[in-house]
Symmetry: C2
Subunit: 325 residues, 2 copies
């Protein structure tokens, strides 16, 4: 910019005026400046501009894994809201590791992003307290923050699971298995709670051997569903509590002698399976959009108490959940 000013024989501020299309520059002066800009190939450095401005016109999203459909749908929605505010988006995947989540979140804060959306991997977010205190709004998504009171946008996990299990019960099932994620994950806990609520409401007992929690690797889930669905105590229906579990279960259960299945989370080809897959669907795009709107509301000065927003789920009936015992 200094070079442009020198080449055009004007002051720095005049170049700034032309670049920012401010009024009050003679057409001739502006022309000289523009010619110099062209000749020197000058492009304004937005990072420098923003340093002076005090904002960075960027927000960051820490998610579990951008390559999974849930995360990427969230990301797209956040990006769209951010774009409407001329904000660029950083994304980073924690890989479900608390350390990495923290590292990413703090790195983004150190860049002074205007705001941060976090899909929690860890369960202690007090490390963000100084950042929040110094004015960086943080919104949590999919799972609430641990140890701090902050905005959060969630799906109705318990309600959704309850509806899915009630659906199985309505179709005559009494022995229903629950295959969940690692205990300690908020969504897993909530979905299990929904399962137990539905069973209790129907007056059905829950045999603890029907409830499986653990890593969602294919082999382990395969083992679990095989155990649940064989022997004299076999369940006649399965509620698989997230998409990885559902996928693993479908892979390990032969289609011809598969129990009734309702999964949490929709899958792209779910309607083309035989039978088509009945699911409790979340709306990741709506979660992302809502979280981003919350964030920008905070940036616009909203100083209300932290909000907890819960989005409903949808039971999509397609066939696999309507199989008789």
């Amino acid at each position: 910019m200094k070079d442009v000013a020198a080449a055009a024989g004007v002051g720095l501020k005049t170049v700034s005026r032309v670049v920012n299309e401010e009024s009050g520059v003679t057409p001739e002066t502006a022309g000289r400046v523009r010619a110099a800009i062209e000749a020197l190939g000058f492009r304004r450095n937005d990072s420098a501009r923003l340093l002076r401005t005090g904002r960075t016109a960027s927000v960051a999203l820490v998610l579990e894994d951008i390559s999974d459909p849930f995360s990427s749908a969230v990301s797209r929605a956040v990006e769209q809201v951010a774009a409407a505010q001329d904000c660029l988006l950083f994304t980073g995947s924690s890989g479900e590791q608390a350390d990495r989540e923290r590292e990413l979140a703090l790195a983004f804060c150190a860049r002074r992003v205007d705001g941060l959306i976090v899909v929690p991997a860890g369960d202690d977010h007090r490390y963000l307290l100084p950042e929040i205190a110094s004015g960086t709004p943080v919104v949590f998504l999919d799972r609430p923050a641990g140890g701090i009171d902050a905005d959060v946008v969630l799906s109705d996990n318990a309600g959704g699971a309850r509806a899915g299990v009630a659906h199985l019960i309505a179709h005559g099932h009494r022995r229903i298995g629950f295959v969940g994620d690692l205990p300690g994950i908020h969504t897993a806990v909530e979905r299990e709670r929904g399962y137990r609520t539905a069973m209790a409401e129907a007056g059905l007992p829950v045999d603890e051997r029907w409830v499986d929690r653990g890593p969602t690797g294919r082999a382990r889930v395969g083992e679990a569903v095989r155990r649940l669905t064989t022997g004299p105590d076999a369940v006649t229906a399965l509620f698989t509590a997230n998409n990885r579990v559902t996928l693993a279960a479908l892979h390990h259960l032969p289609a011809d002698r598969r129990p009734a299945v309702v999964g949490f989370d929709d899958l792209e080809l779910a309607d083309l399976l035989t039978p088509a897959l009945t699911v409790v669907a979340q709306n990741p795009a709506a979660l992302g959009a809502l979280a981003a709107q919350r964030l920008f509301a905070r940036l616009a000065g909203d100083a209300g108490a932290p909000a907890r927003l819960e989005l409903p789920t949808t039971l999509i009936v397609r066939g696999s959940g309507e199989v008789s015992p």
Copy 2:
């Protein structure tokens, strides 16, 4: 930082030394500084630091749509390579619109990202010439740049399509339909070329009515496949040239009287369909990793001629492509 220096009764540079863990500070001095940092809740502003440094420790990825599986897998791979270099990642979706691609790419350049990876939406990238000239390396992914000579990482689209169609031919098909994307999209053109090559190599004629190109919306593709697969001239097999087309085709073709199908791009539940879906799979993670490595090689000073890297595809035989005519 000024406040910390004042509070600790030291110079600015000493605070900088402590914050950056440089050597040559008395333990007592360092202690005083650390106490002041603690008391004031100071956090170094990395954006300001990077302005002085001349880098931004960030790279940007412009893709088609972060919410589709191809884009998000690419993104994850790029993120991992970038993280290994302590680089943060901006992502943005062009939505397949040339204008938006340009807007995003230039916005990232204005922020002075260290490097840029672009999945082209438009076919003229000369607008990036000044950016490249001023030292921002740009790597293209999935499709080559238009009008400029730059690094590009691609799948072997023609070779993959040729192998897929040859597979259908080997299973006895002679009338094979091709359902592709909009003409003008590089990958669509290449895949059609592979289709024609395979047909020609087998000495089979191509009836132009078997070749369909256009928007990949469900309704339009449904119409197209219905036309291709009915009547006296119906094809006995279909090569669907990308995942959206494949999905649309599967939705519109009744499973009981579906022709043989081979699709380009793998799908998550492809192996659980009846019959399971035979596909020509790309490796989006490998494309992303390779592009990112190329980018960091450029950043490390590699000044060689622009490279064109082509990754092989894999034919995954599962059933739908082995149906007899």
